[in-house]
């Protein structure tokens, strides 16, 4: 067999050593991303991975691809600008629950609405790790911490159903430890036109050691993906938060902007000003 030398997952890994704690779910996500990219066989230089601030937002530098580690909460607009300006690129936006749902919450809603053909990967560990363990929008109301003693008392944000309501075209949940499932879901998310949202439950072993038990709590969604948002919403709202799989696969056309292929003569733009 004379198969061409294909790109391996390891070709998408950079030499930089992650700062993540050993045991962190994000290592699994890193592996899954490299495997998904190998599956797609996209050259590393045609891929851009964009992030904000937080533990998981360190991921671009650990990959061999173009990357941008921007400011807290603004990864989606960074990725949006890049994808609109350079539609031929594969753009992944990655980050955590604080970055994406708290400080960047507004961008999350509008990125779902806008339905640009990018994939948004949120490593959800229900905590701010880089600032030493404060509650995030997805943290349970009774989780005790120094900043919110006794818990926030706030109902957790539900990213999947909010993505769905806001118009995301692909909604999935995976568990980081399920490397194969996360890889497959990412491949499908990247291939699916429009805005794809993948929530990866990714344990924080330092501030939420109890999340090590997630691996026995997760289970594959016992249903096939639907393209009906109402059905998807019902499923998501009634599951236990540990249902994994592709929960919605929409049929909306991705955002596109008309643009001329030929550059107009510059003098045409000044003609309306002439007296």
């Amino acid at each position: 067999m004379n198969a061409p030398v294909s790109l391996k997952a390891s070709d998408y890994k950079s030499d930089l050593k992650p700062v993540w704690c050993p045991g962190c779910g994000d290592y699994h996500v890193l592996l899954a991303v490299t495997k998904a990219l190998a599956e797609l066989q996209r050259p590393a230089h045609d891929i851009a991975v964009i992030s904000g601030i937080g533990c998981s937002s360190r991921i671009p530098a650990y990959l061999n691809a173009y990357g941008f580690h921007g400011v807290h909460g603004r990864a989606l607009p960074l990725g949006t600008g890049l994808k609109v300006a350079r539609p031929e690129l594969t753009v992944l936006v990655a980050g955590g629950d604080g970055d994406g749902f708290s400080i960047g919450g507004n961008h999350f809603l509008h990125a779902c609405r806008r339905n640009i053909d990018i994939t948004y990967l949120v490593m959800d560990n229900q905590v701010y790790g880089m600032t030493k363990g404060q509650p995030s929008p997805t943290t349970a109301p009774d989780w005790d911490s120094a900043l919110s003693p006794g818990g926030t008392g706030l109902r957790p944000f539900h990213p999947l159903v909010i993505a769905l309501a806001s118009g995301a075209n692909f909604v999935a949940r995976t568990f980081s430890g399920d490397i194969k499932g996360t890889t497959q879901t990412l491949v499908e998310a990247i291939r699916h036109p429009g805005f794809s949202f993948v929530e990866v439950l990714s344990p924080c072993v330092t501030f939420r050691p109890e999340q090590r038990e997630w691996k026995s709590a997760v289970h594959a969604a016992p249903v096939t993906p639907t393209d009906d948002p109402a059905r998807a919403a019902r499923r998501i709202m009634t599951d236990d938060g540990f249902n994994t799989g592709i929960l919605f696969r929409g049929t909306r056309d991705p955002y596109s902007l008309a643009r001329s292929d030929t550059v107009a003569d510059m003098t045409a733009f000044e003609r309306p000003f002439e007296l």
């Binding site: 067999m1 004379n2 030398v5 992650p18 045991g23 497959q184 072993v205």
Partner: protein
């Protein structure tokens, strides 16, 4: 994740396919050990960093051996989804989620033991399901090697008793980053 193989039927059909899987098992295992070695290095656990590098170098040797033993058999160029792993991961790859910055050689070798056991189970399954005698012969060879590796790790483990509870205690609080 344990050393036990999930009960999923896999069907390896040709020698070349088996060799590609056997090679990937070693290659993945070595990359995983290197990843762990890097983690230990970054988190100032030099003993474990060295141990994981040593484990990685064993796997590297095995990977090279498989390639040379394949001789004229061209290995198919498989994408991640084309590997017929019974579980969520390449069988001999150590479990990343069980890593800890203060982990001891006992923990690392327990990981390695389970990894070798999973690899053994993988080849054992091929042996039992292979129809083609050549395929079966290759699978037996690999399985027997994995059995040796299991024994080797078990012997190593004799030198490292299980650490007392509290091995992971740290008086310093986690550090603030960005």
């Amino acid at each position: 994740m344990t050393g036990k193989q999930p009960k999923v039927l896999i069907s390896i059909e040709t020698e070349a396919e088996l060799l590609a899987h056997a090679h990937a098992i070693e290659q993945d295992a070595l990359e995983r050990y290197r990843m762990l070695a890097d983690q230990m290095e970054a988190h100032n656990n030099p003993v474990l960093a060295e141990l994981f590098r040593e484990l990685a170098s064993h796997e590297e040797k095995h990977a090279a051996e498989i390639l040379s033993r394949a001789g004229n058999i061209a290995l198919p160029d498989l994408r991640p989804s084309e590997f017929k792993w019974p579980g969520v991961d390449s069988p001999e790859s150590a479990e990343l989620d069980l890593a800890h910055y203060k982990m001891t050689p006992w923990h690392a070798l327990q990981m390695a033991l389970r990894a070798e056991q999973r690899a053994f189970a993988f080849f054992d399954h091929v042996v039992n399901s292979a129809g083609d005698p050549n395929l079966k012969a290759w699978a037996e060879e690999f399985r027997d090697e994995e059995a040796e590796h299991v024994e080797l790790v078990e012997r190593l483990l004799e030198k490292y008793p299980e650490p007392e509870p509290g091995w992971d205690e740290d008086d310093d609080l986690p550090a603030l980053q960005d």
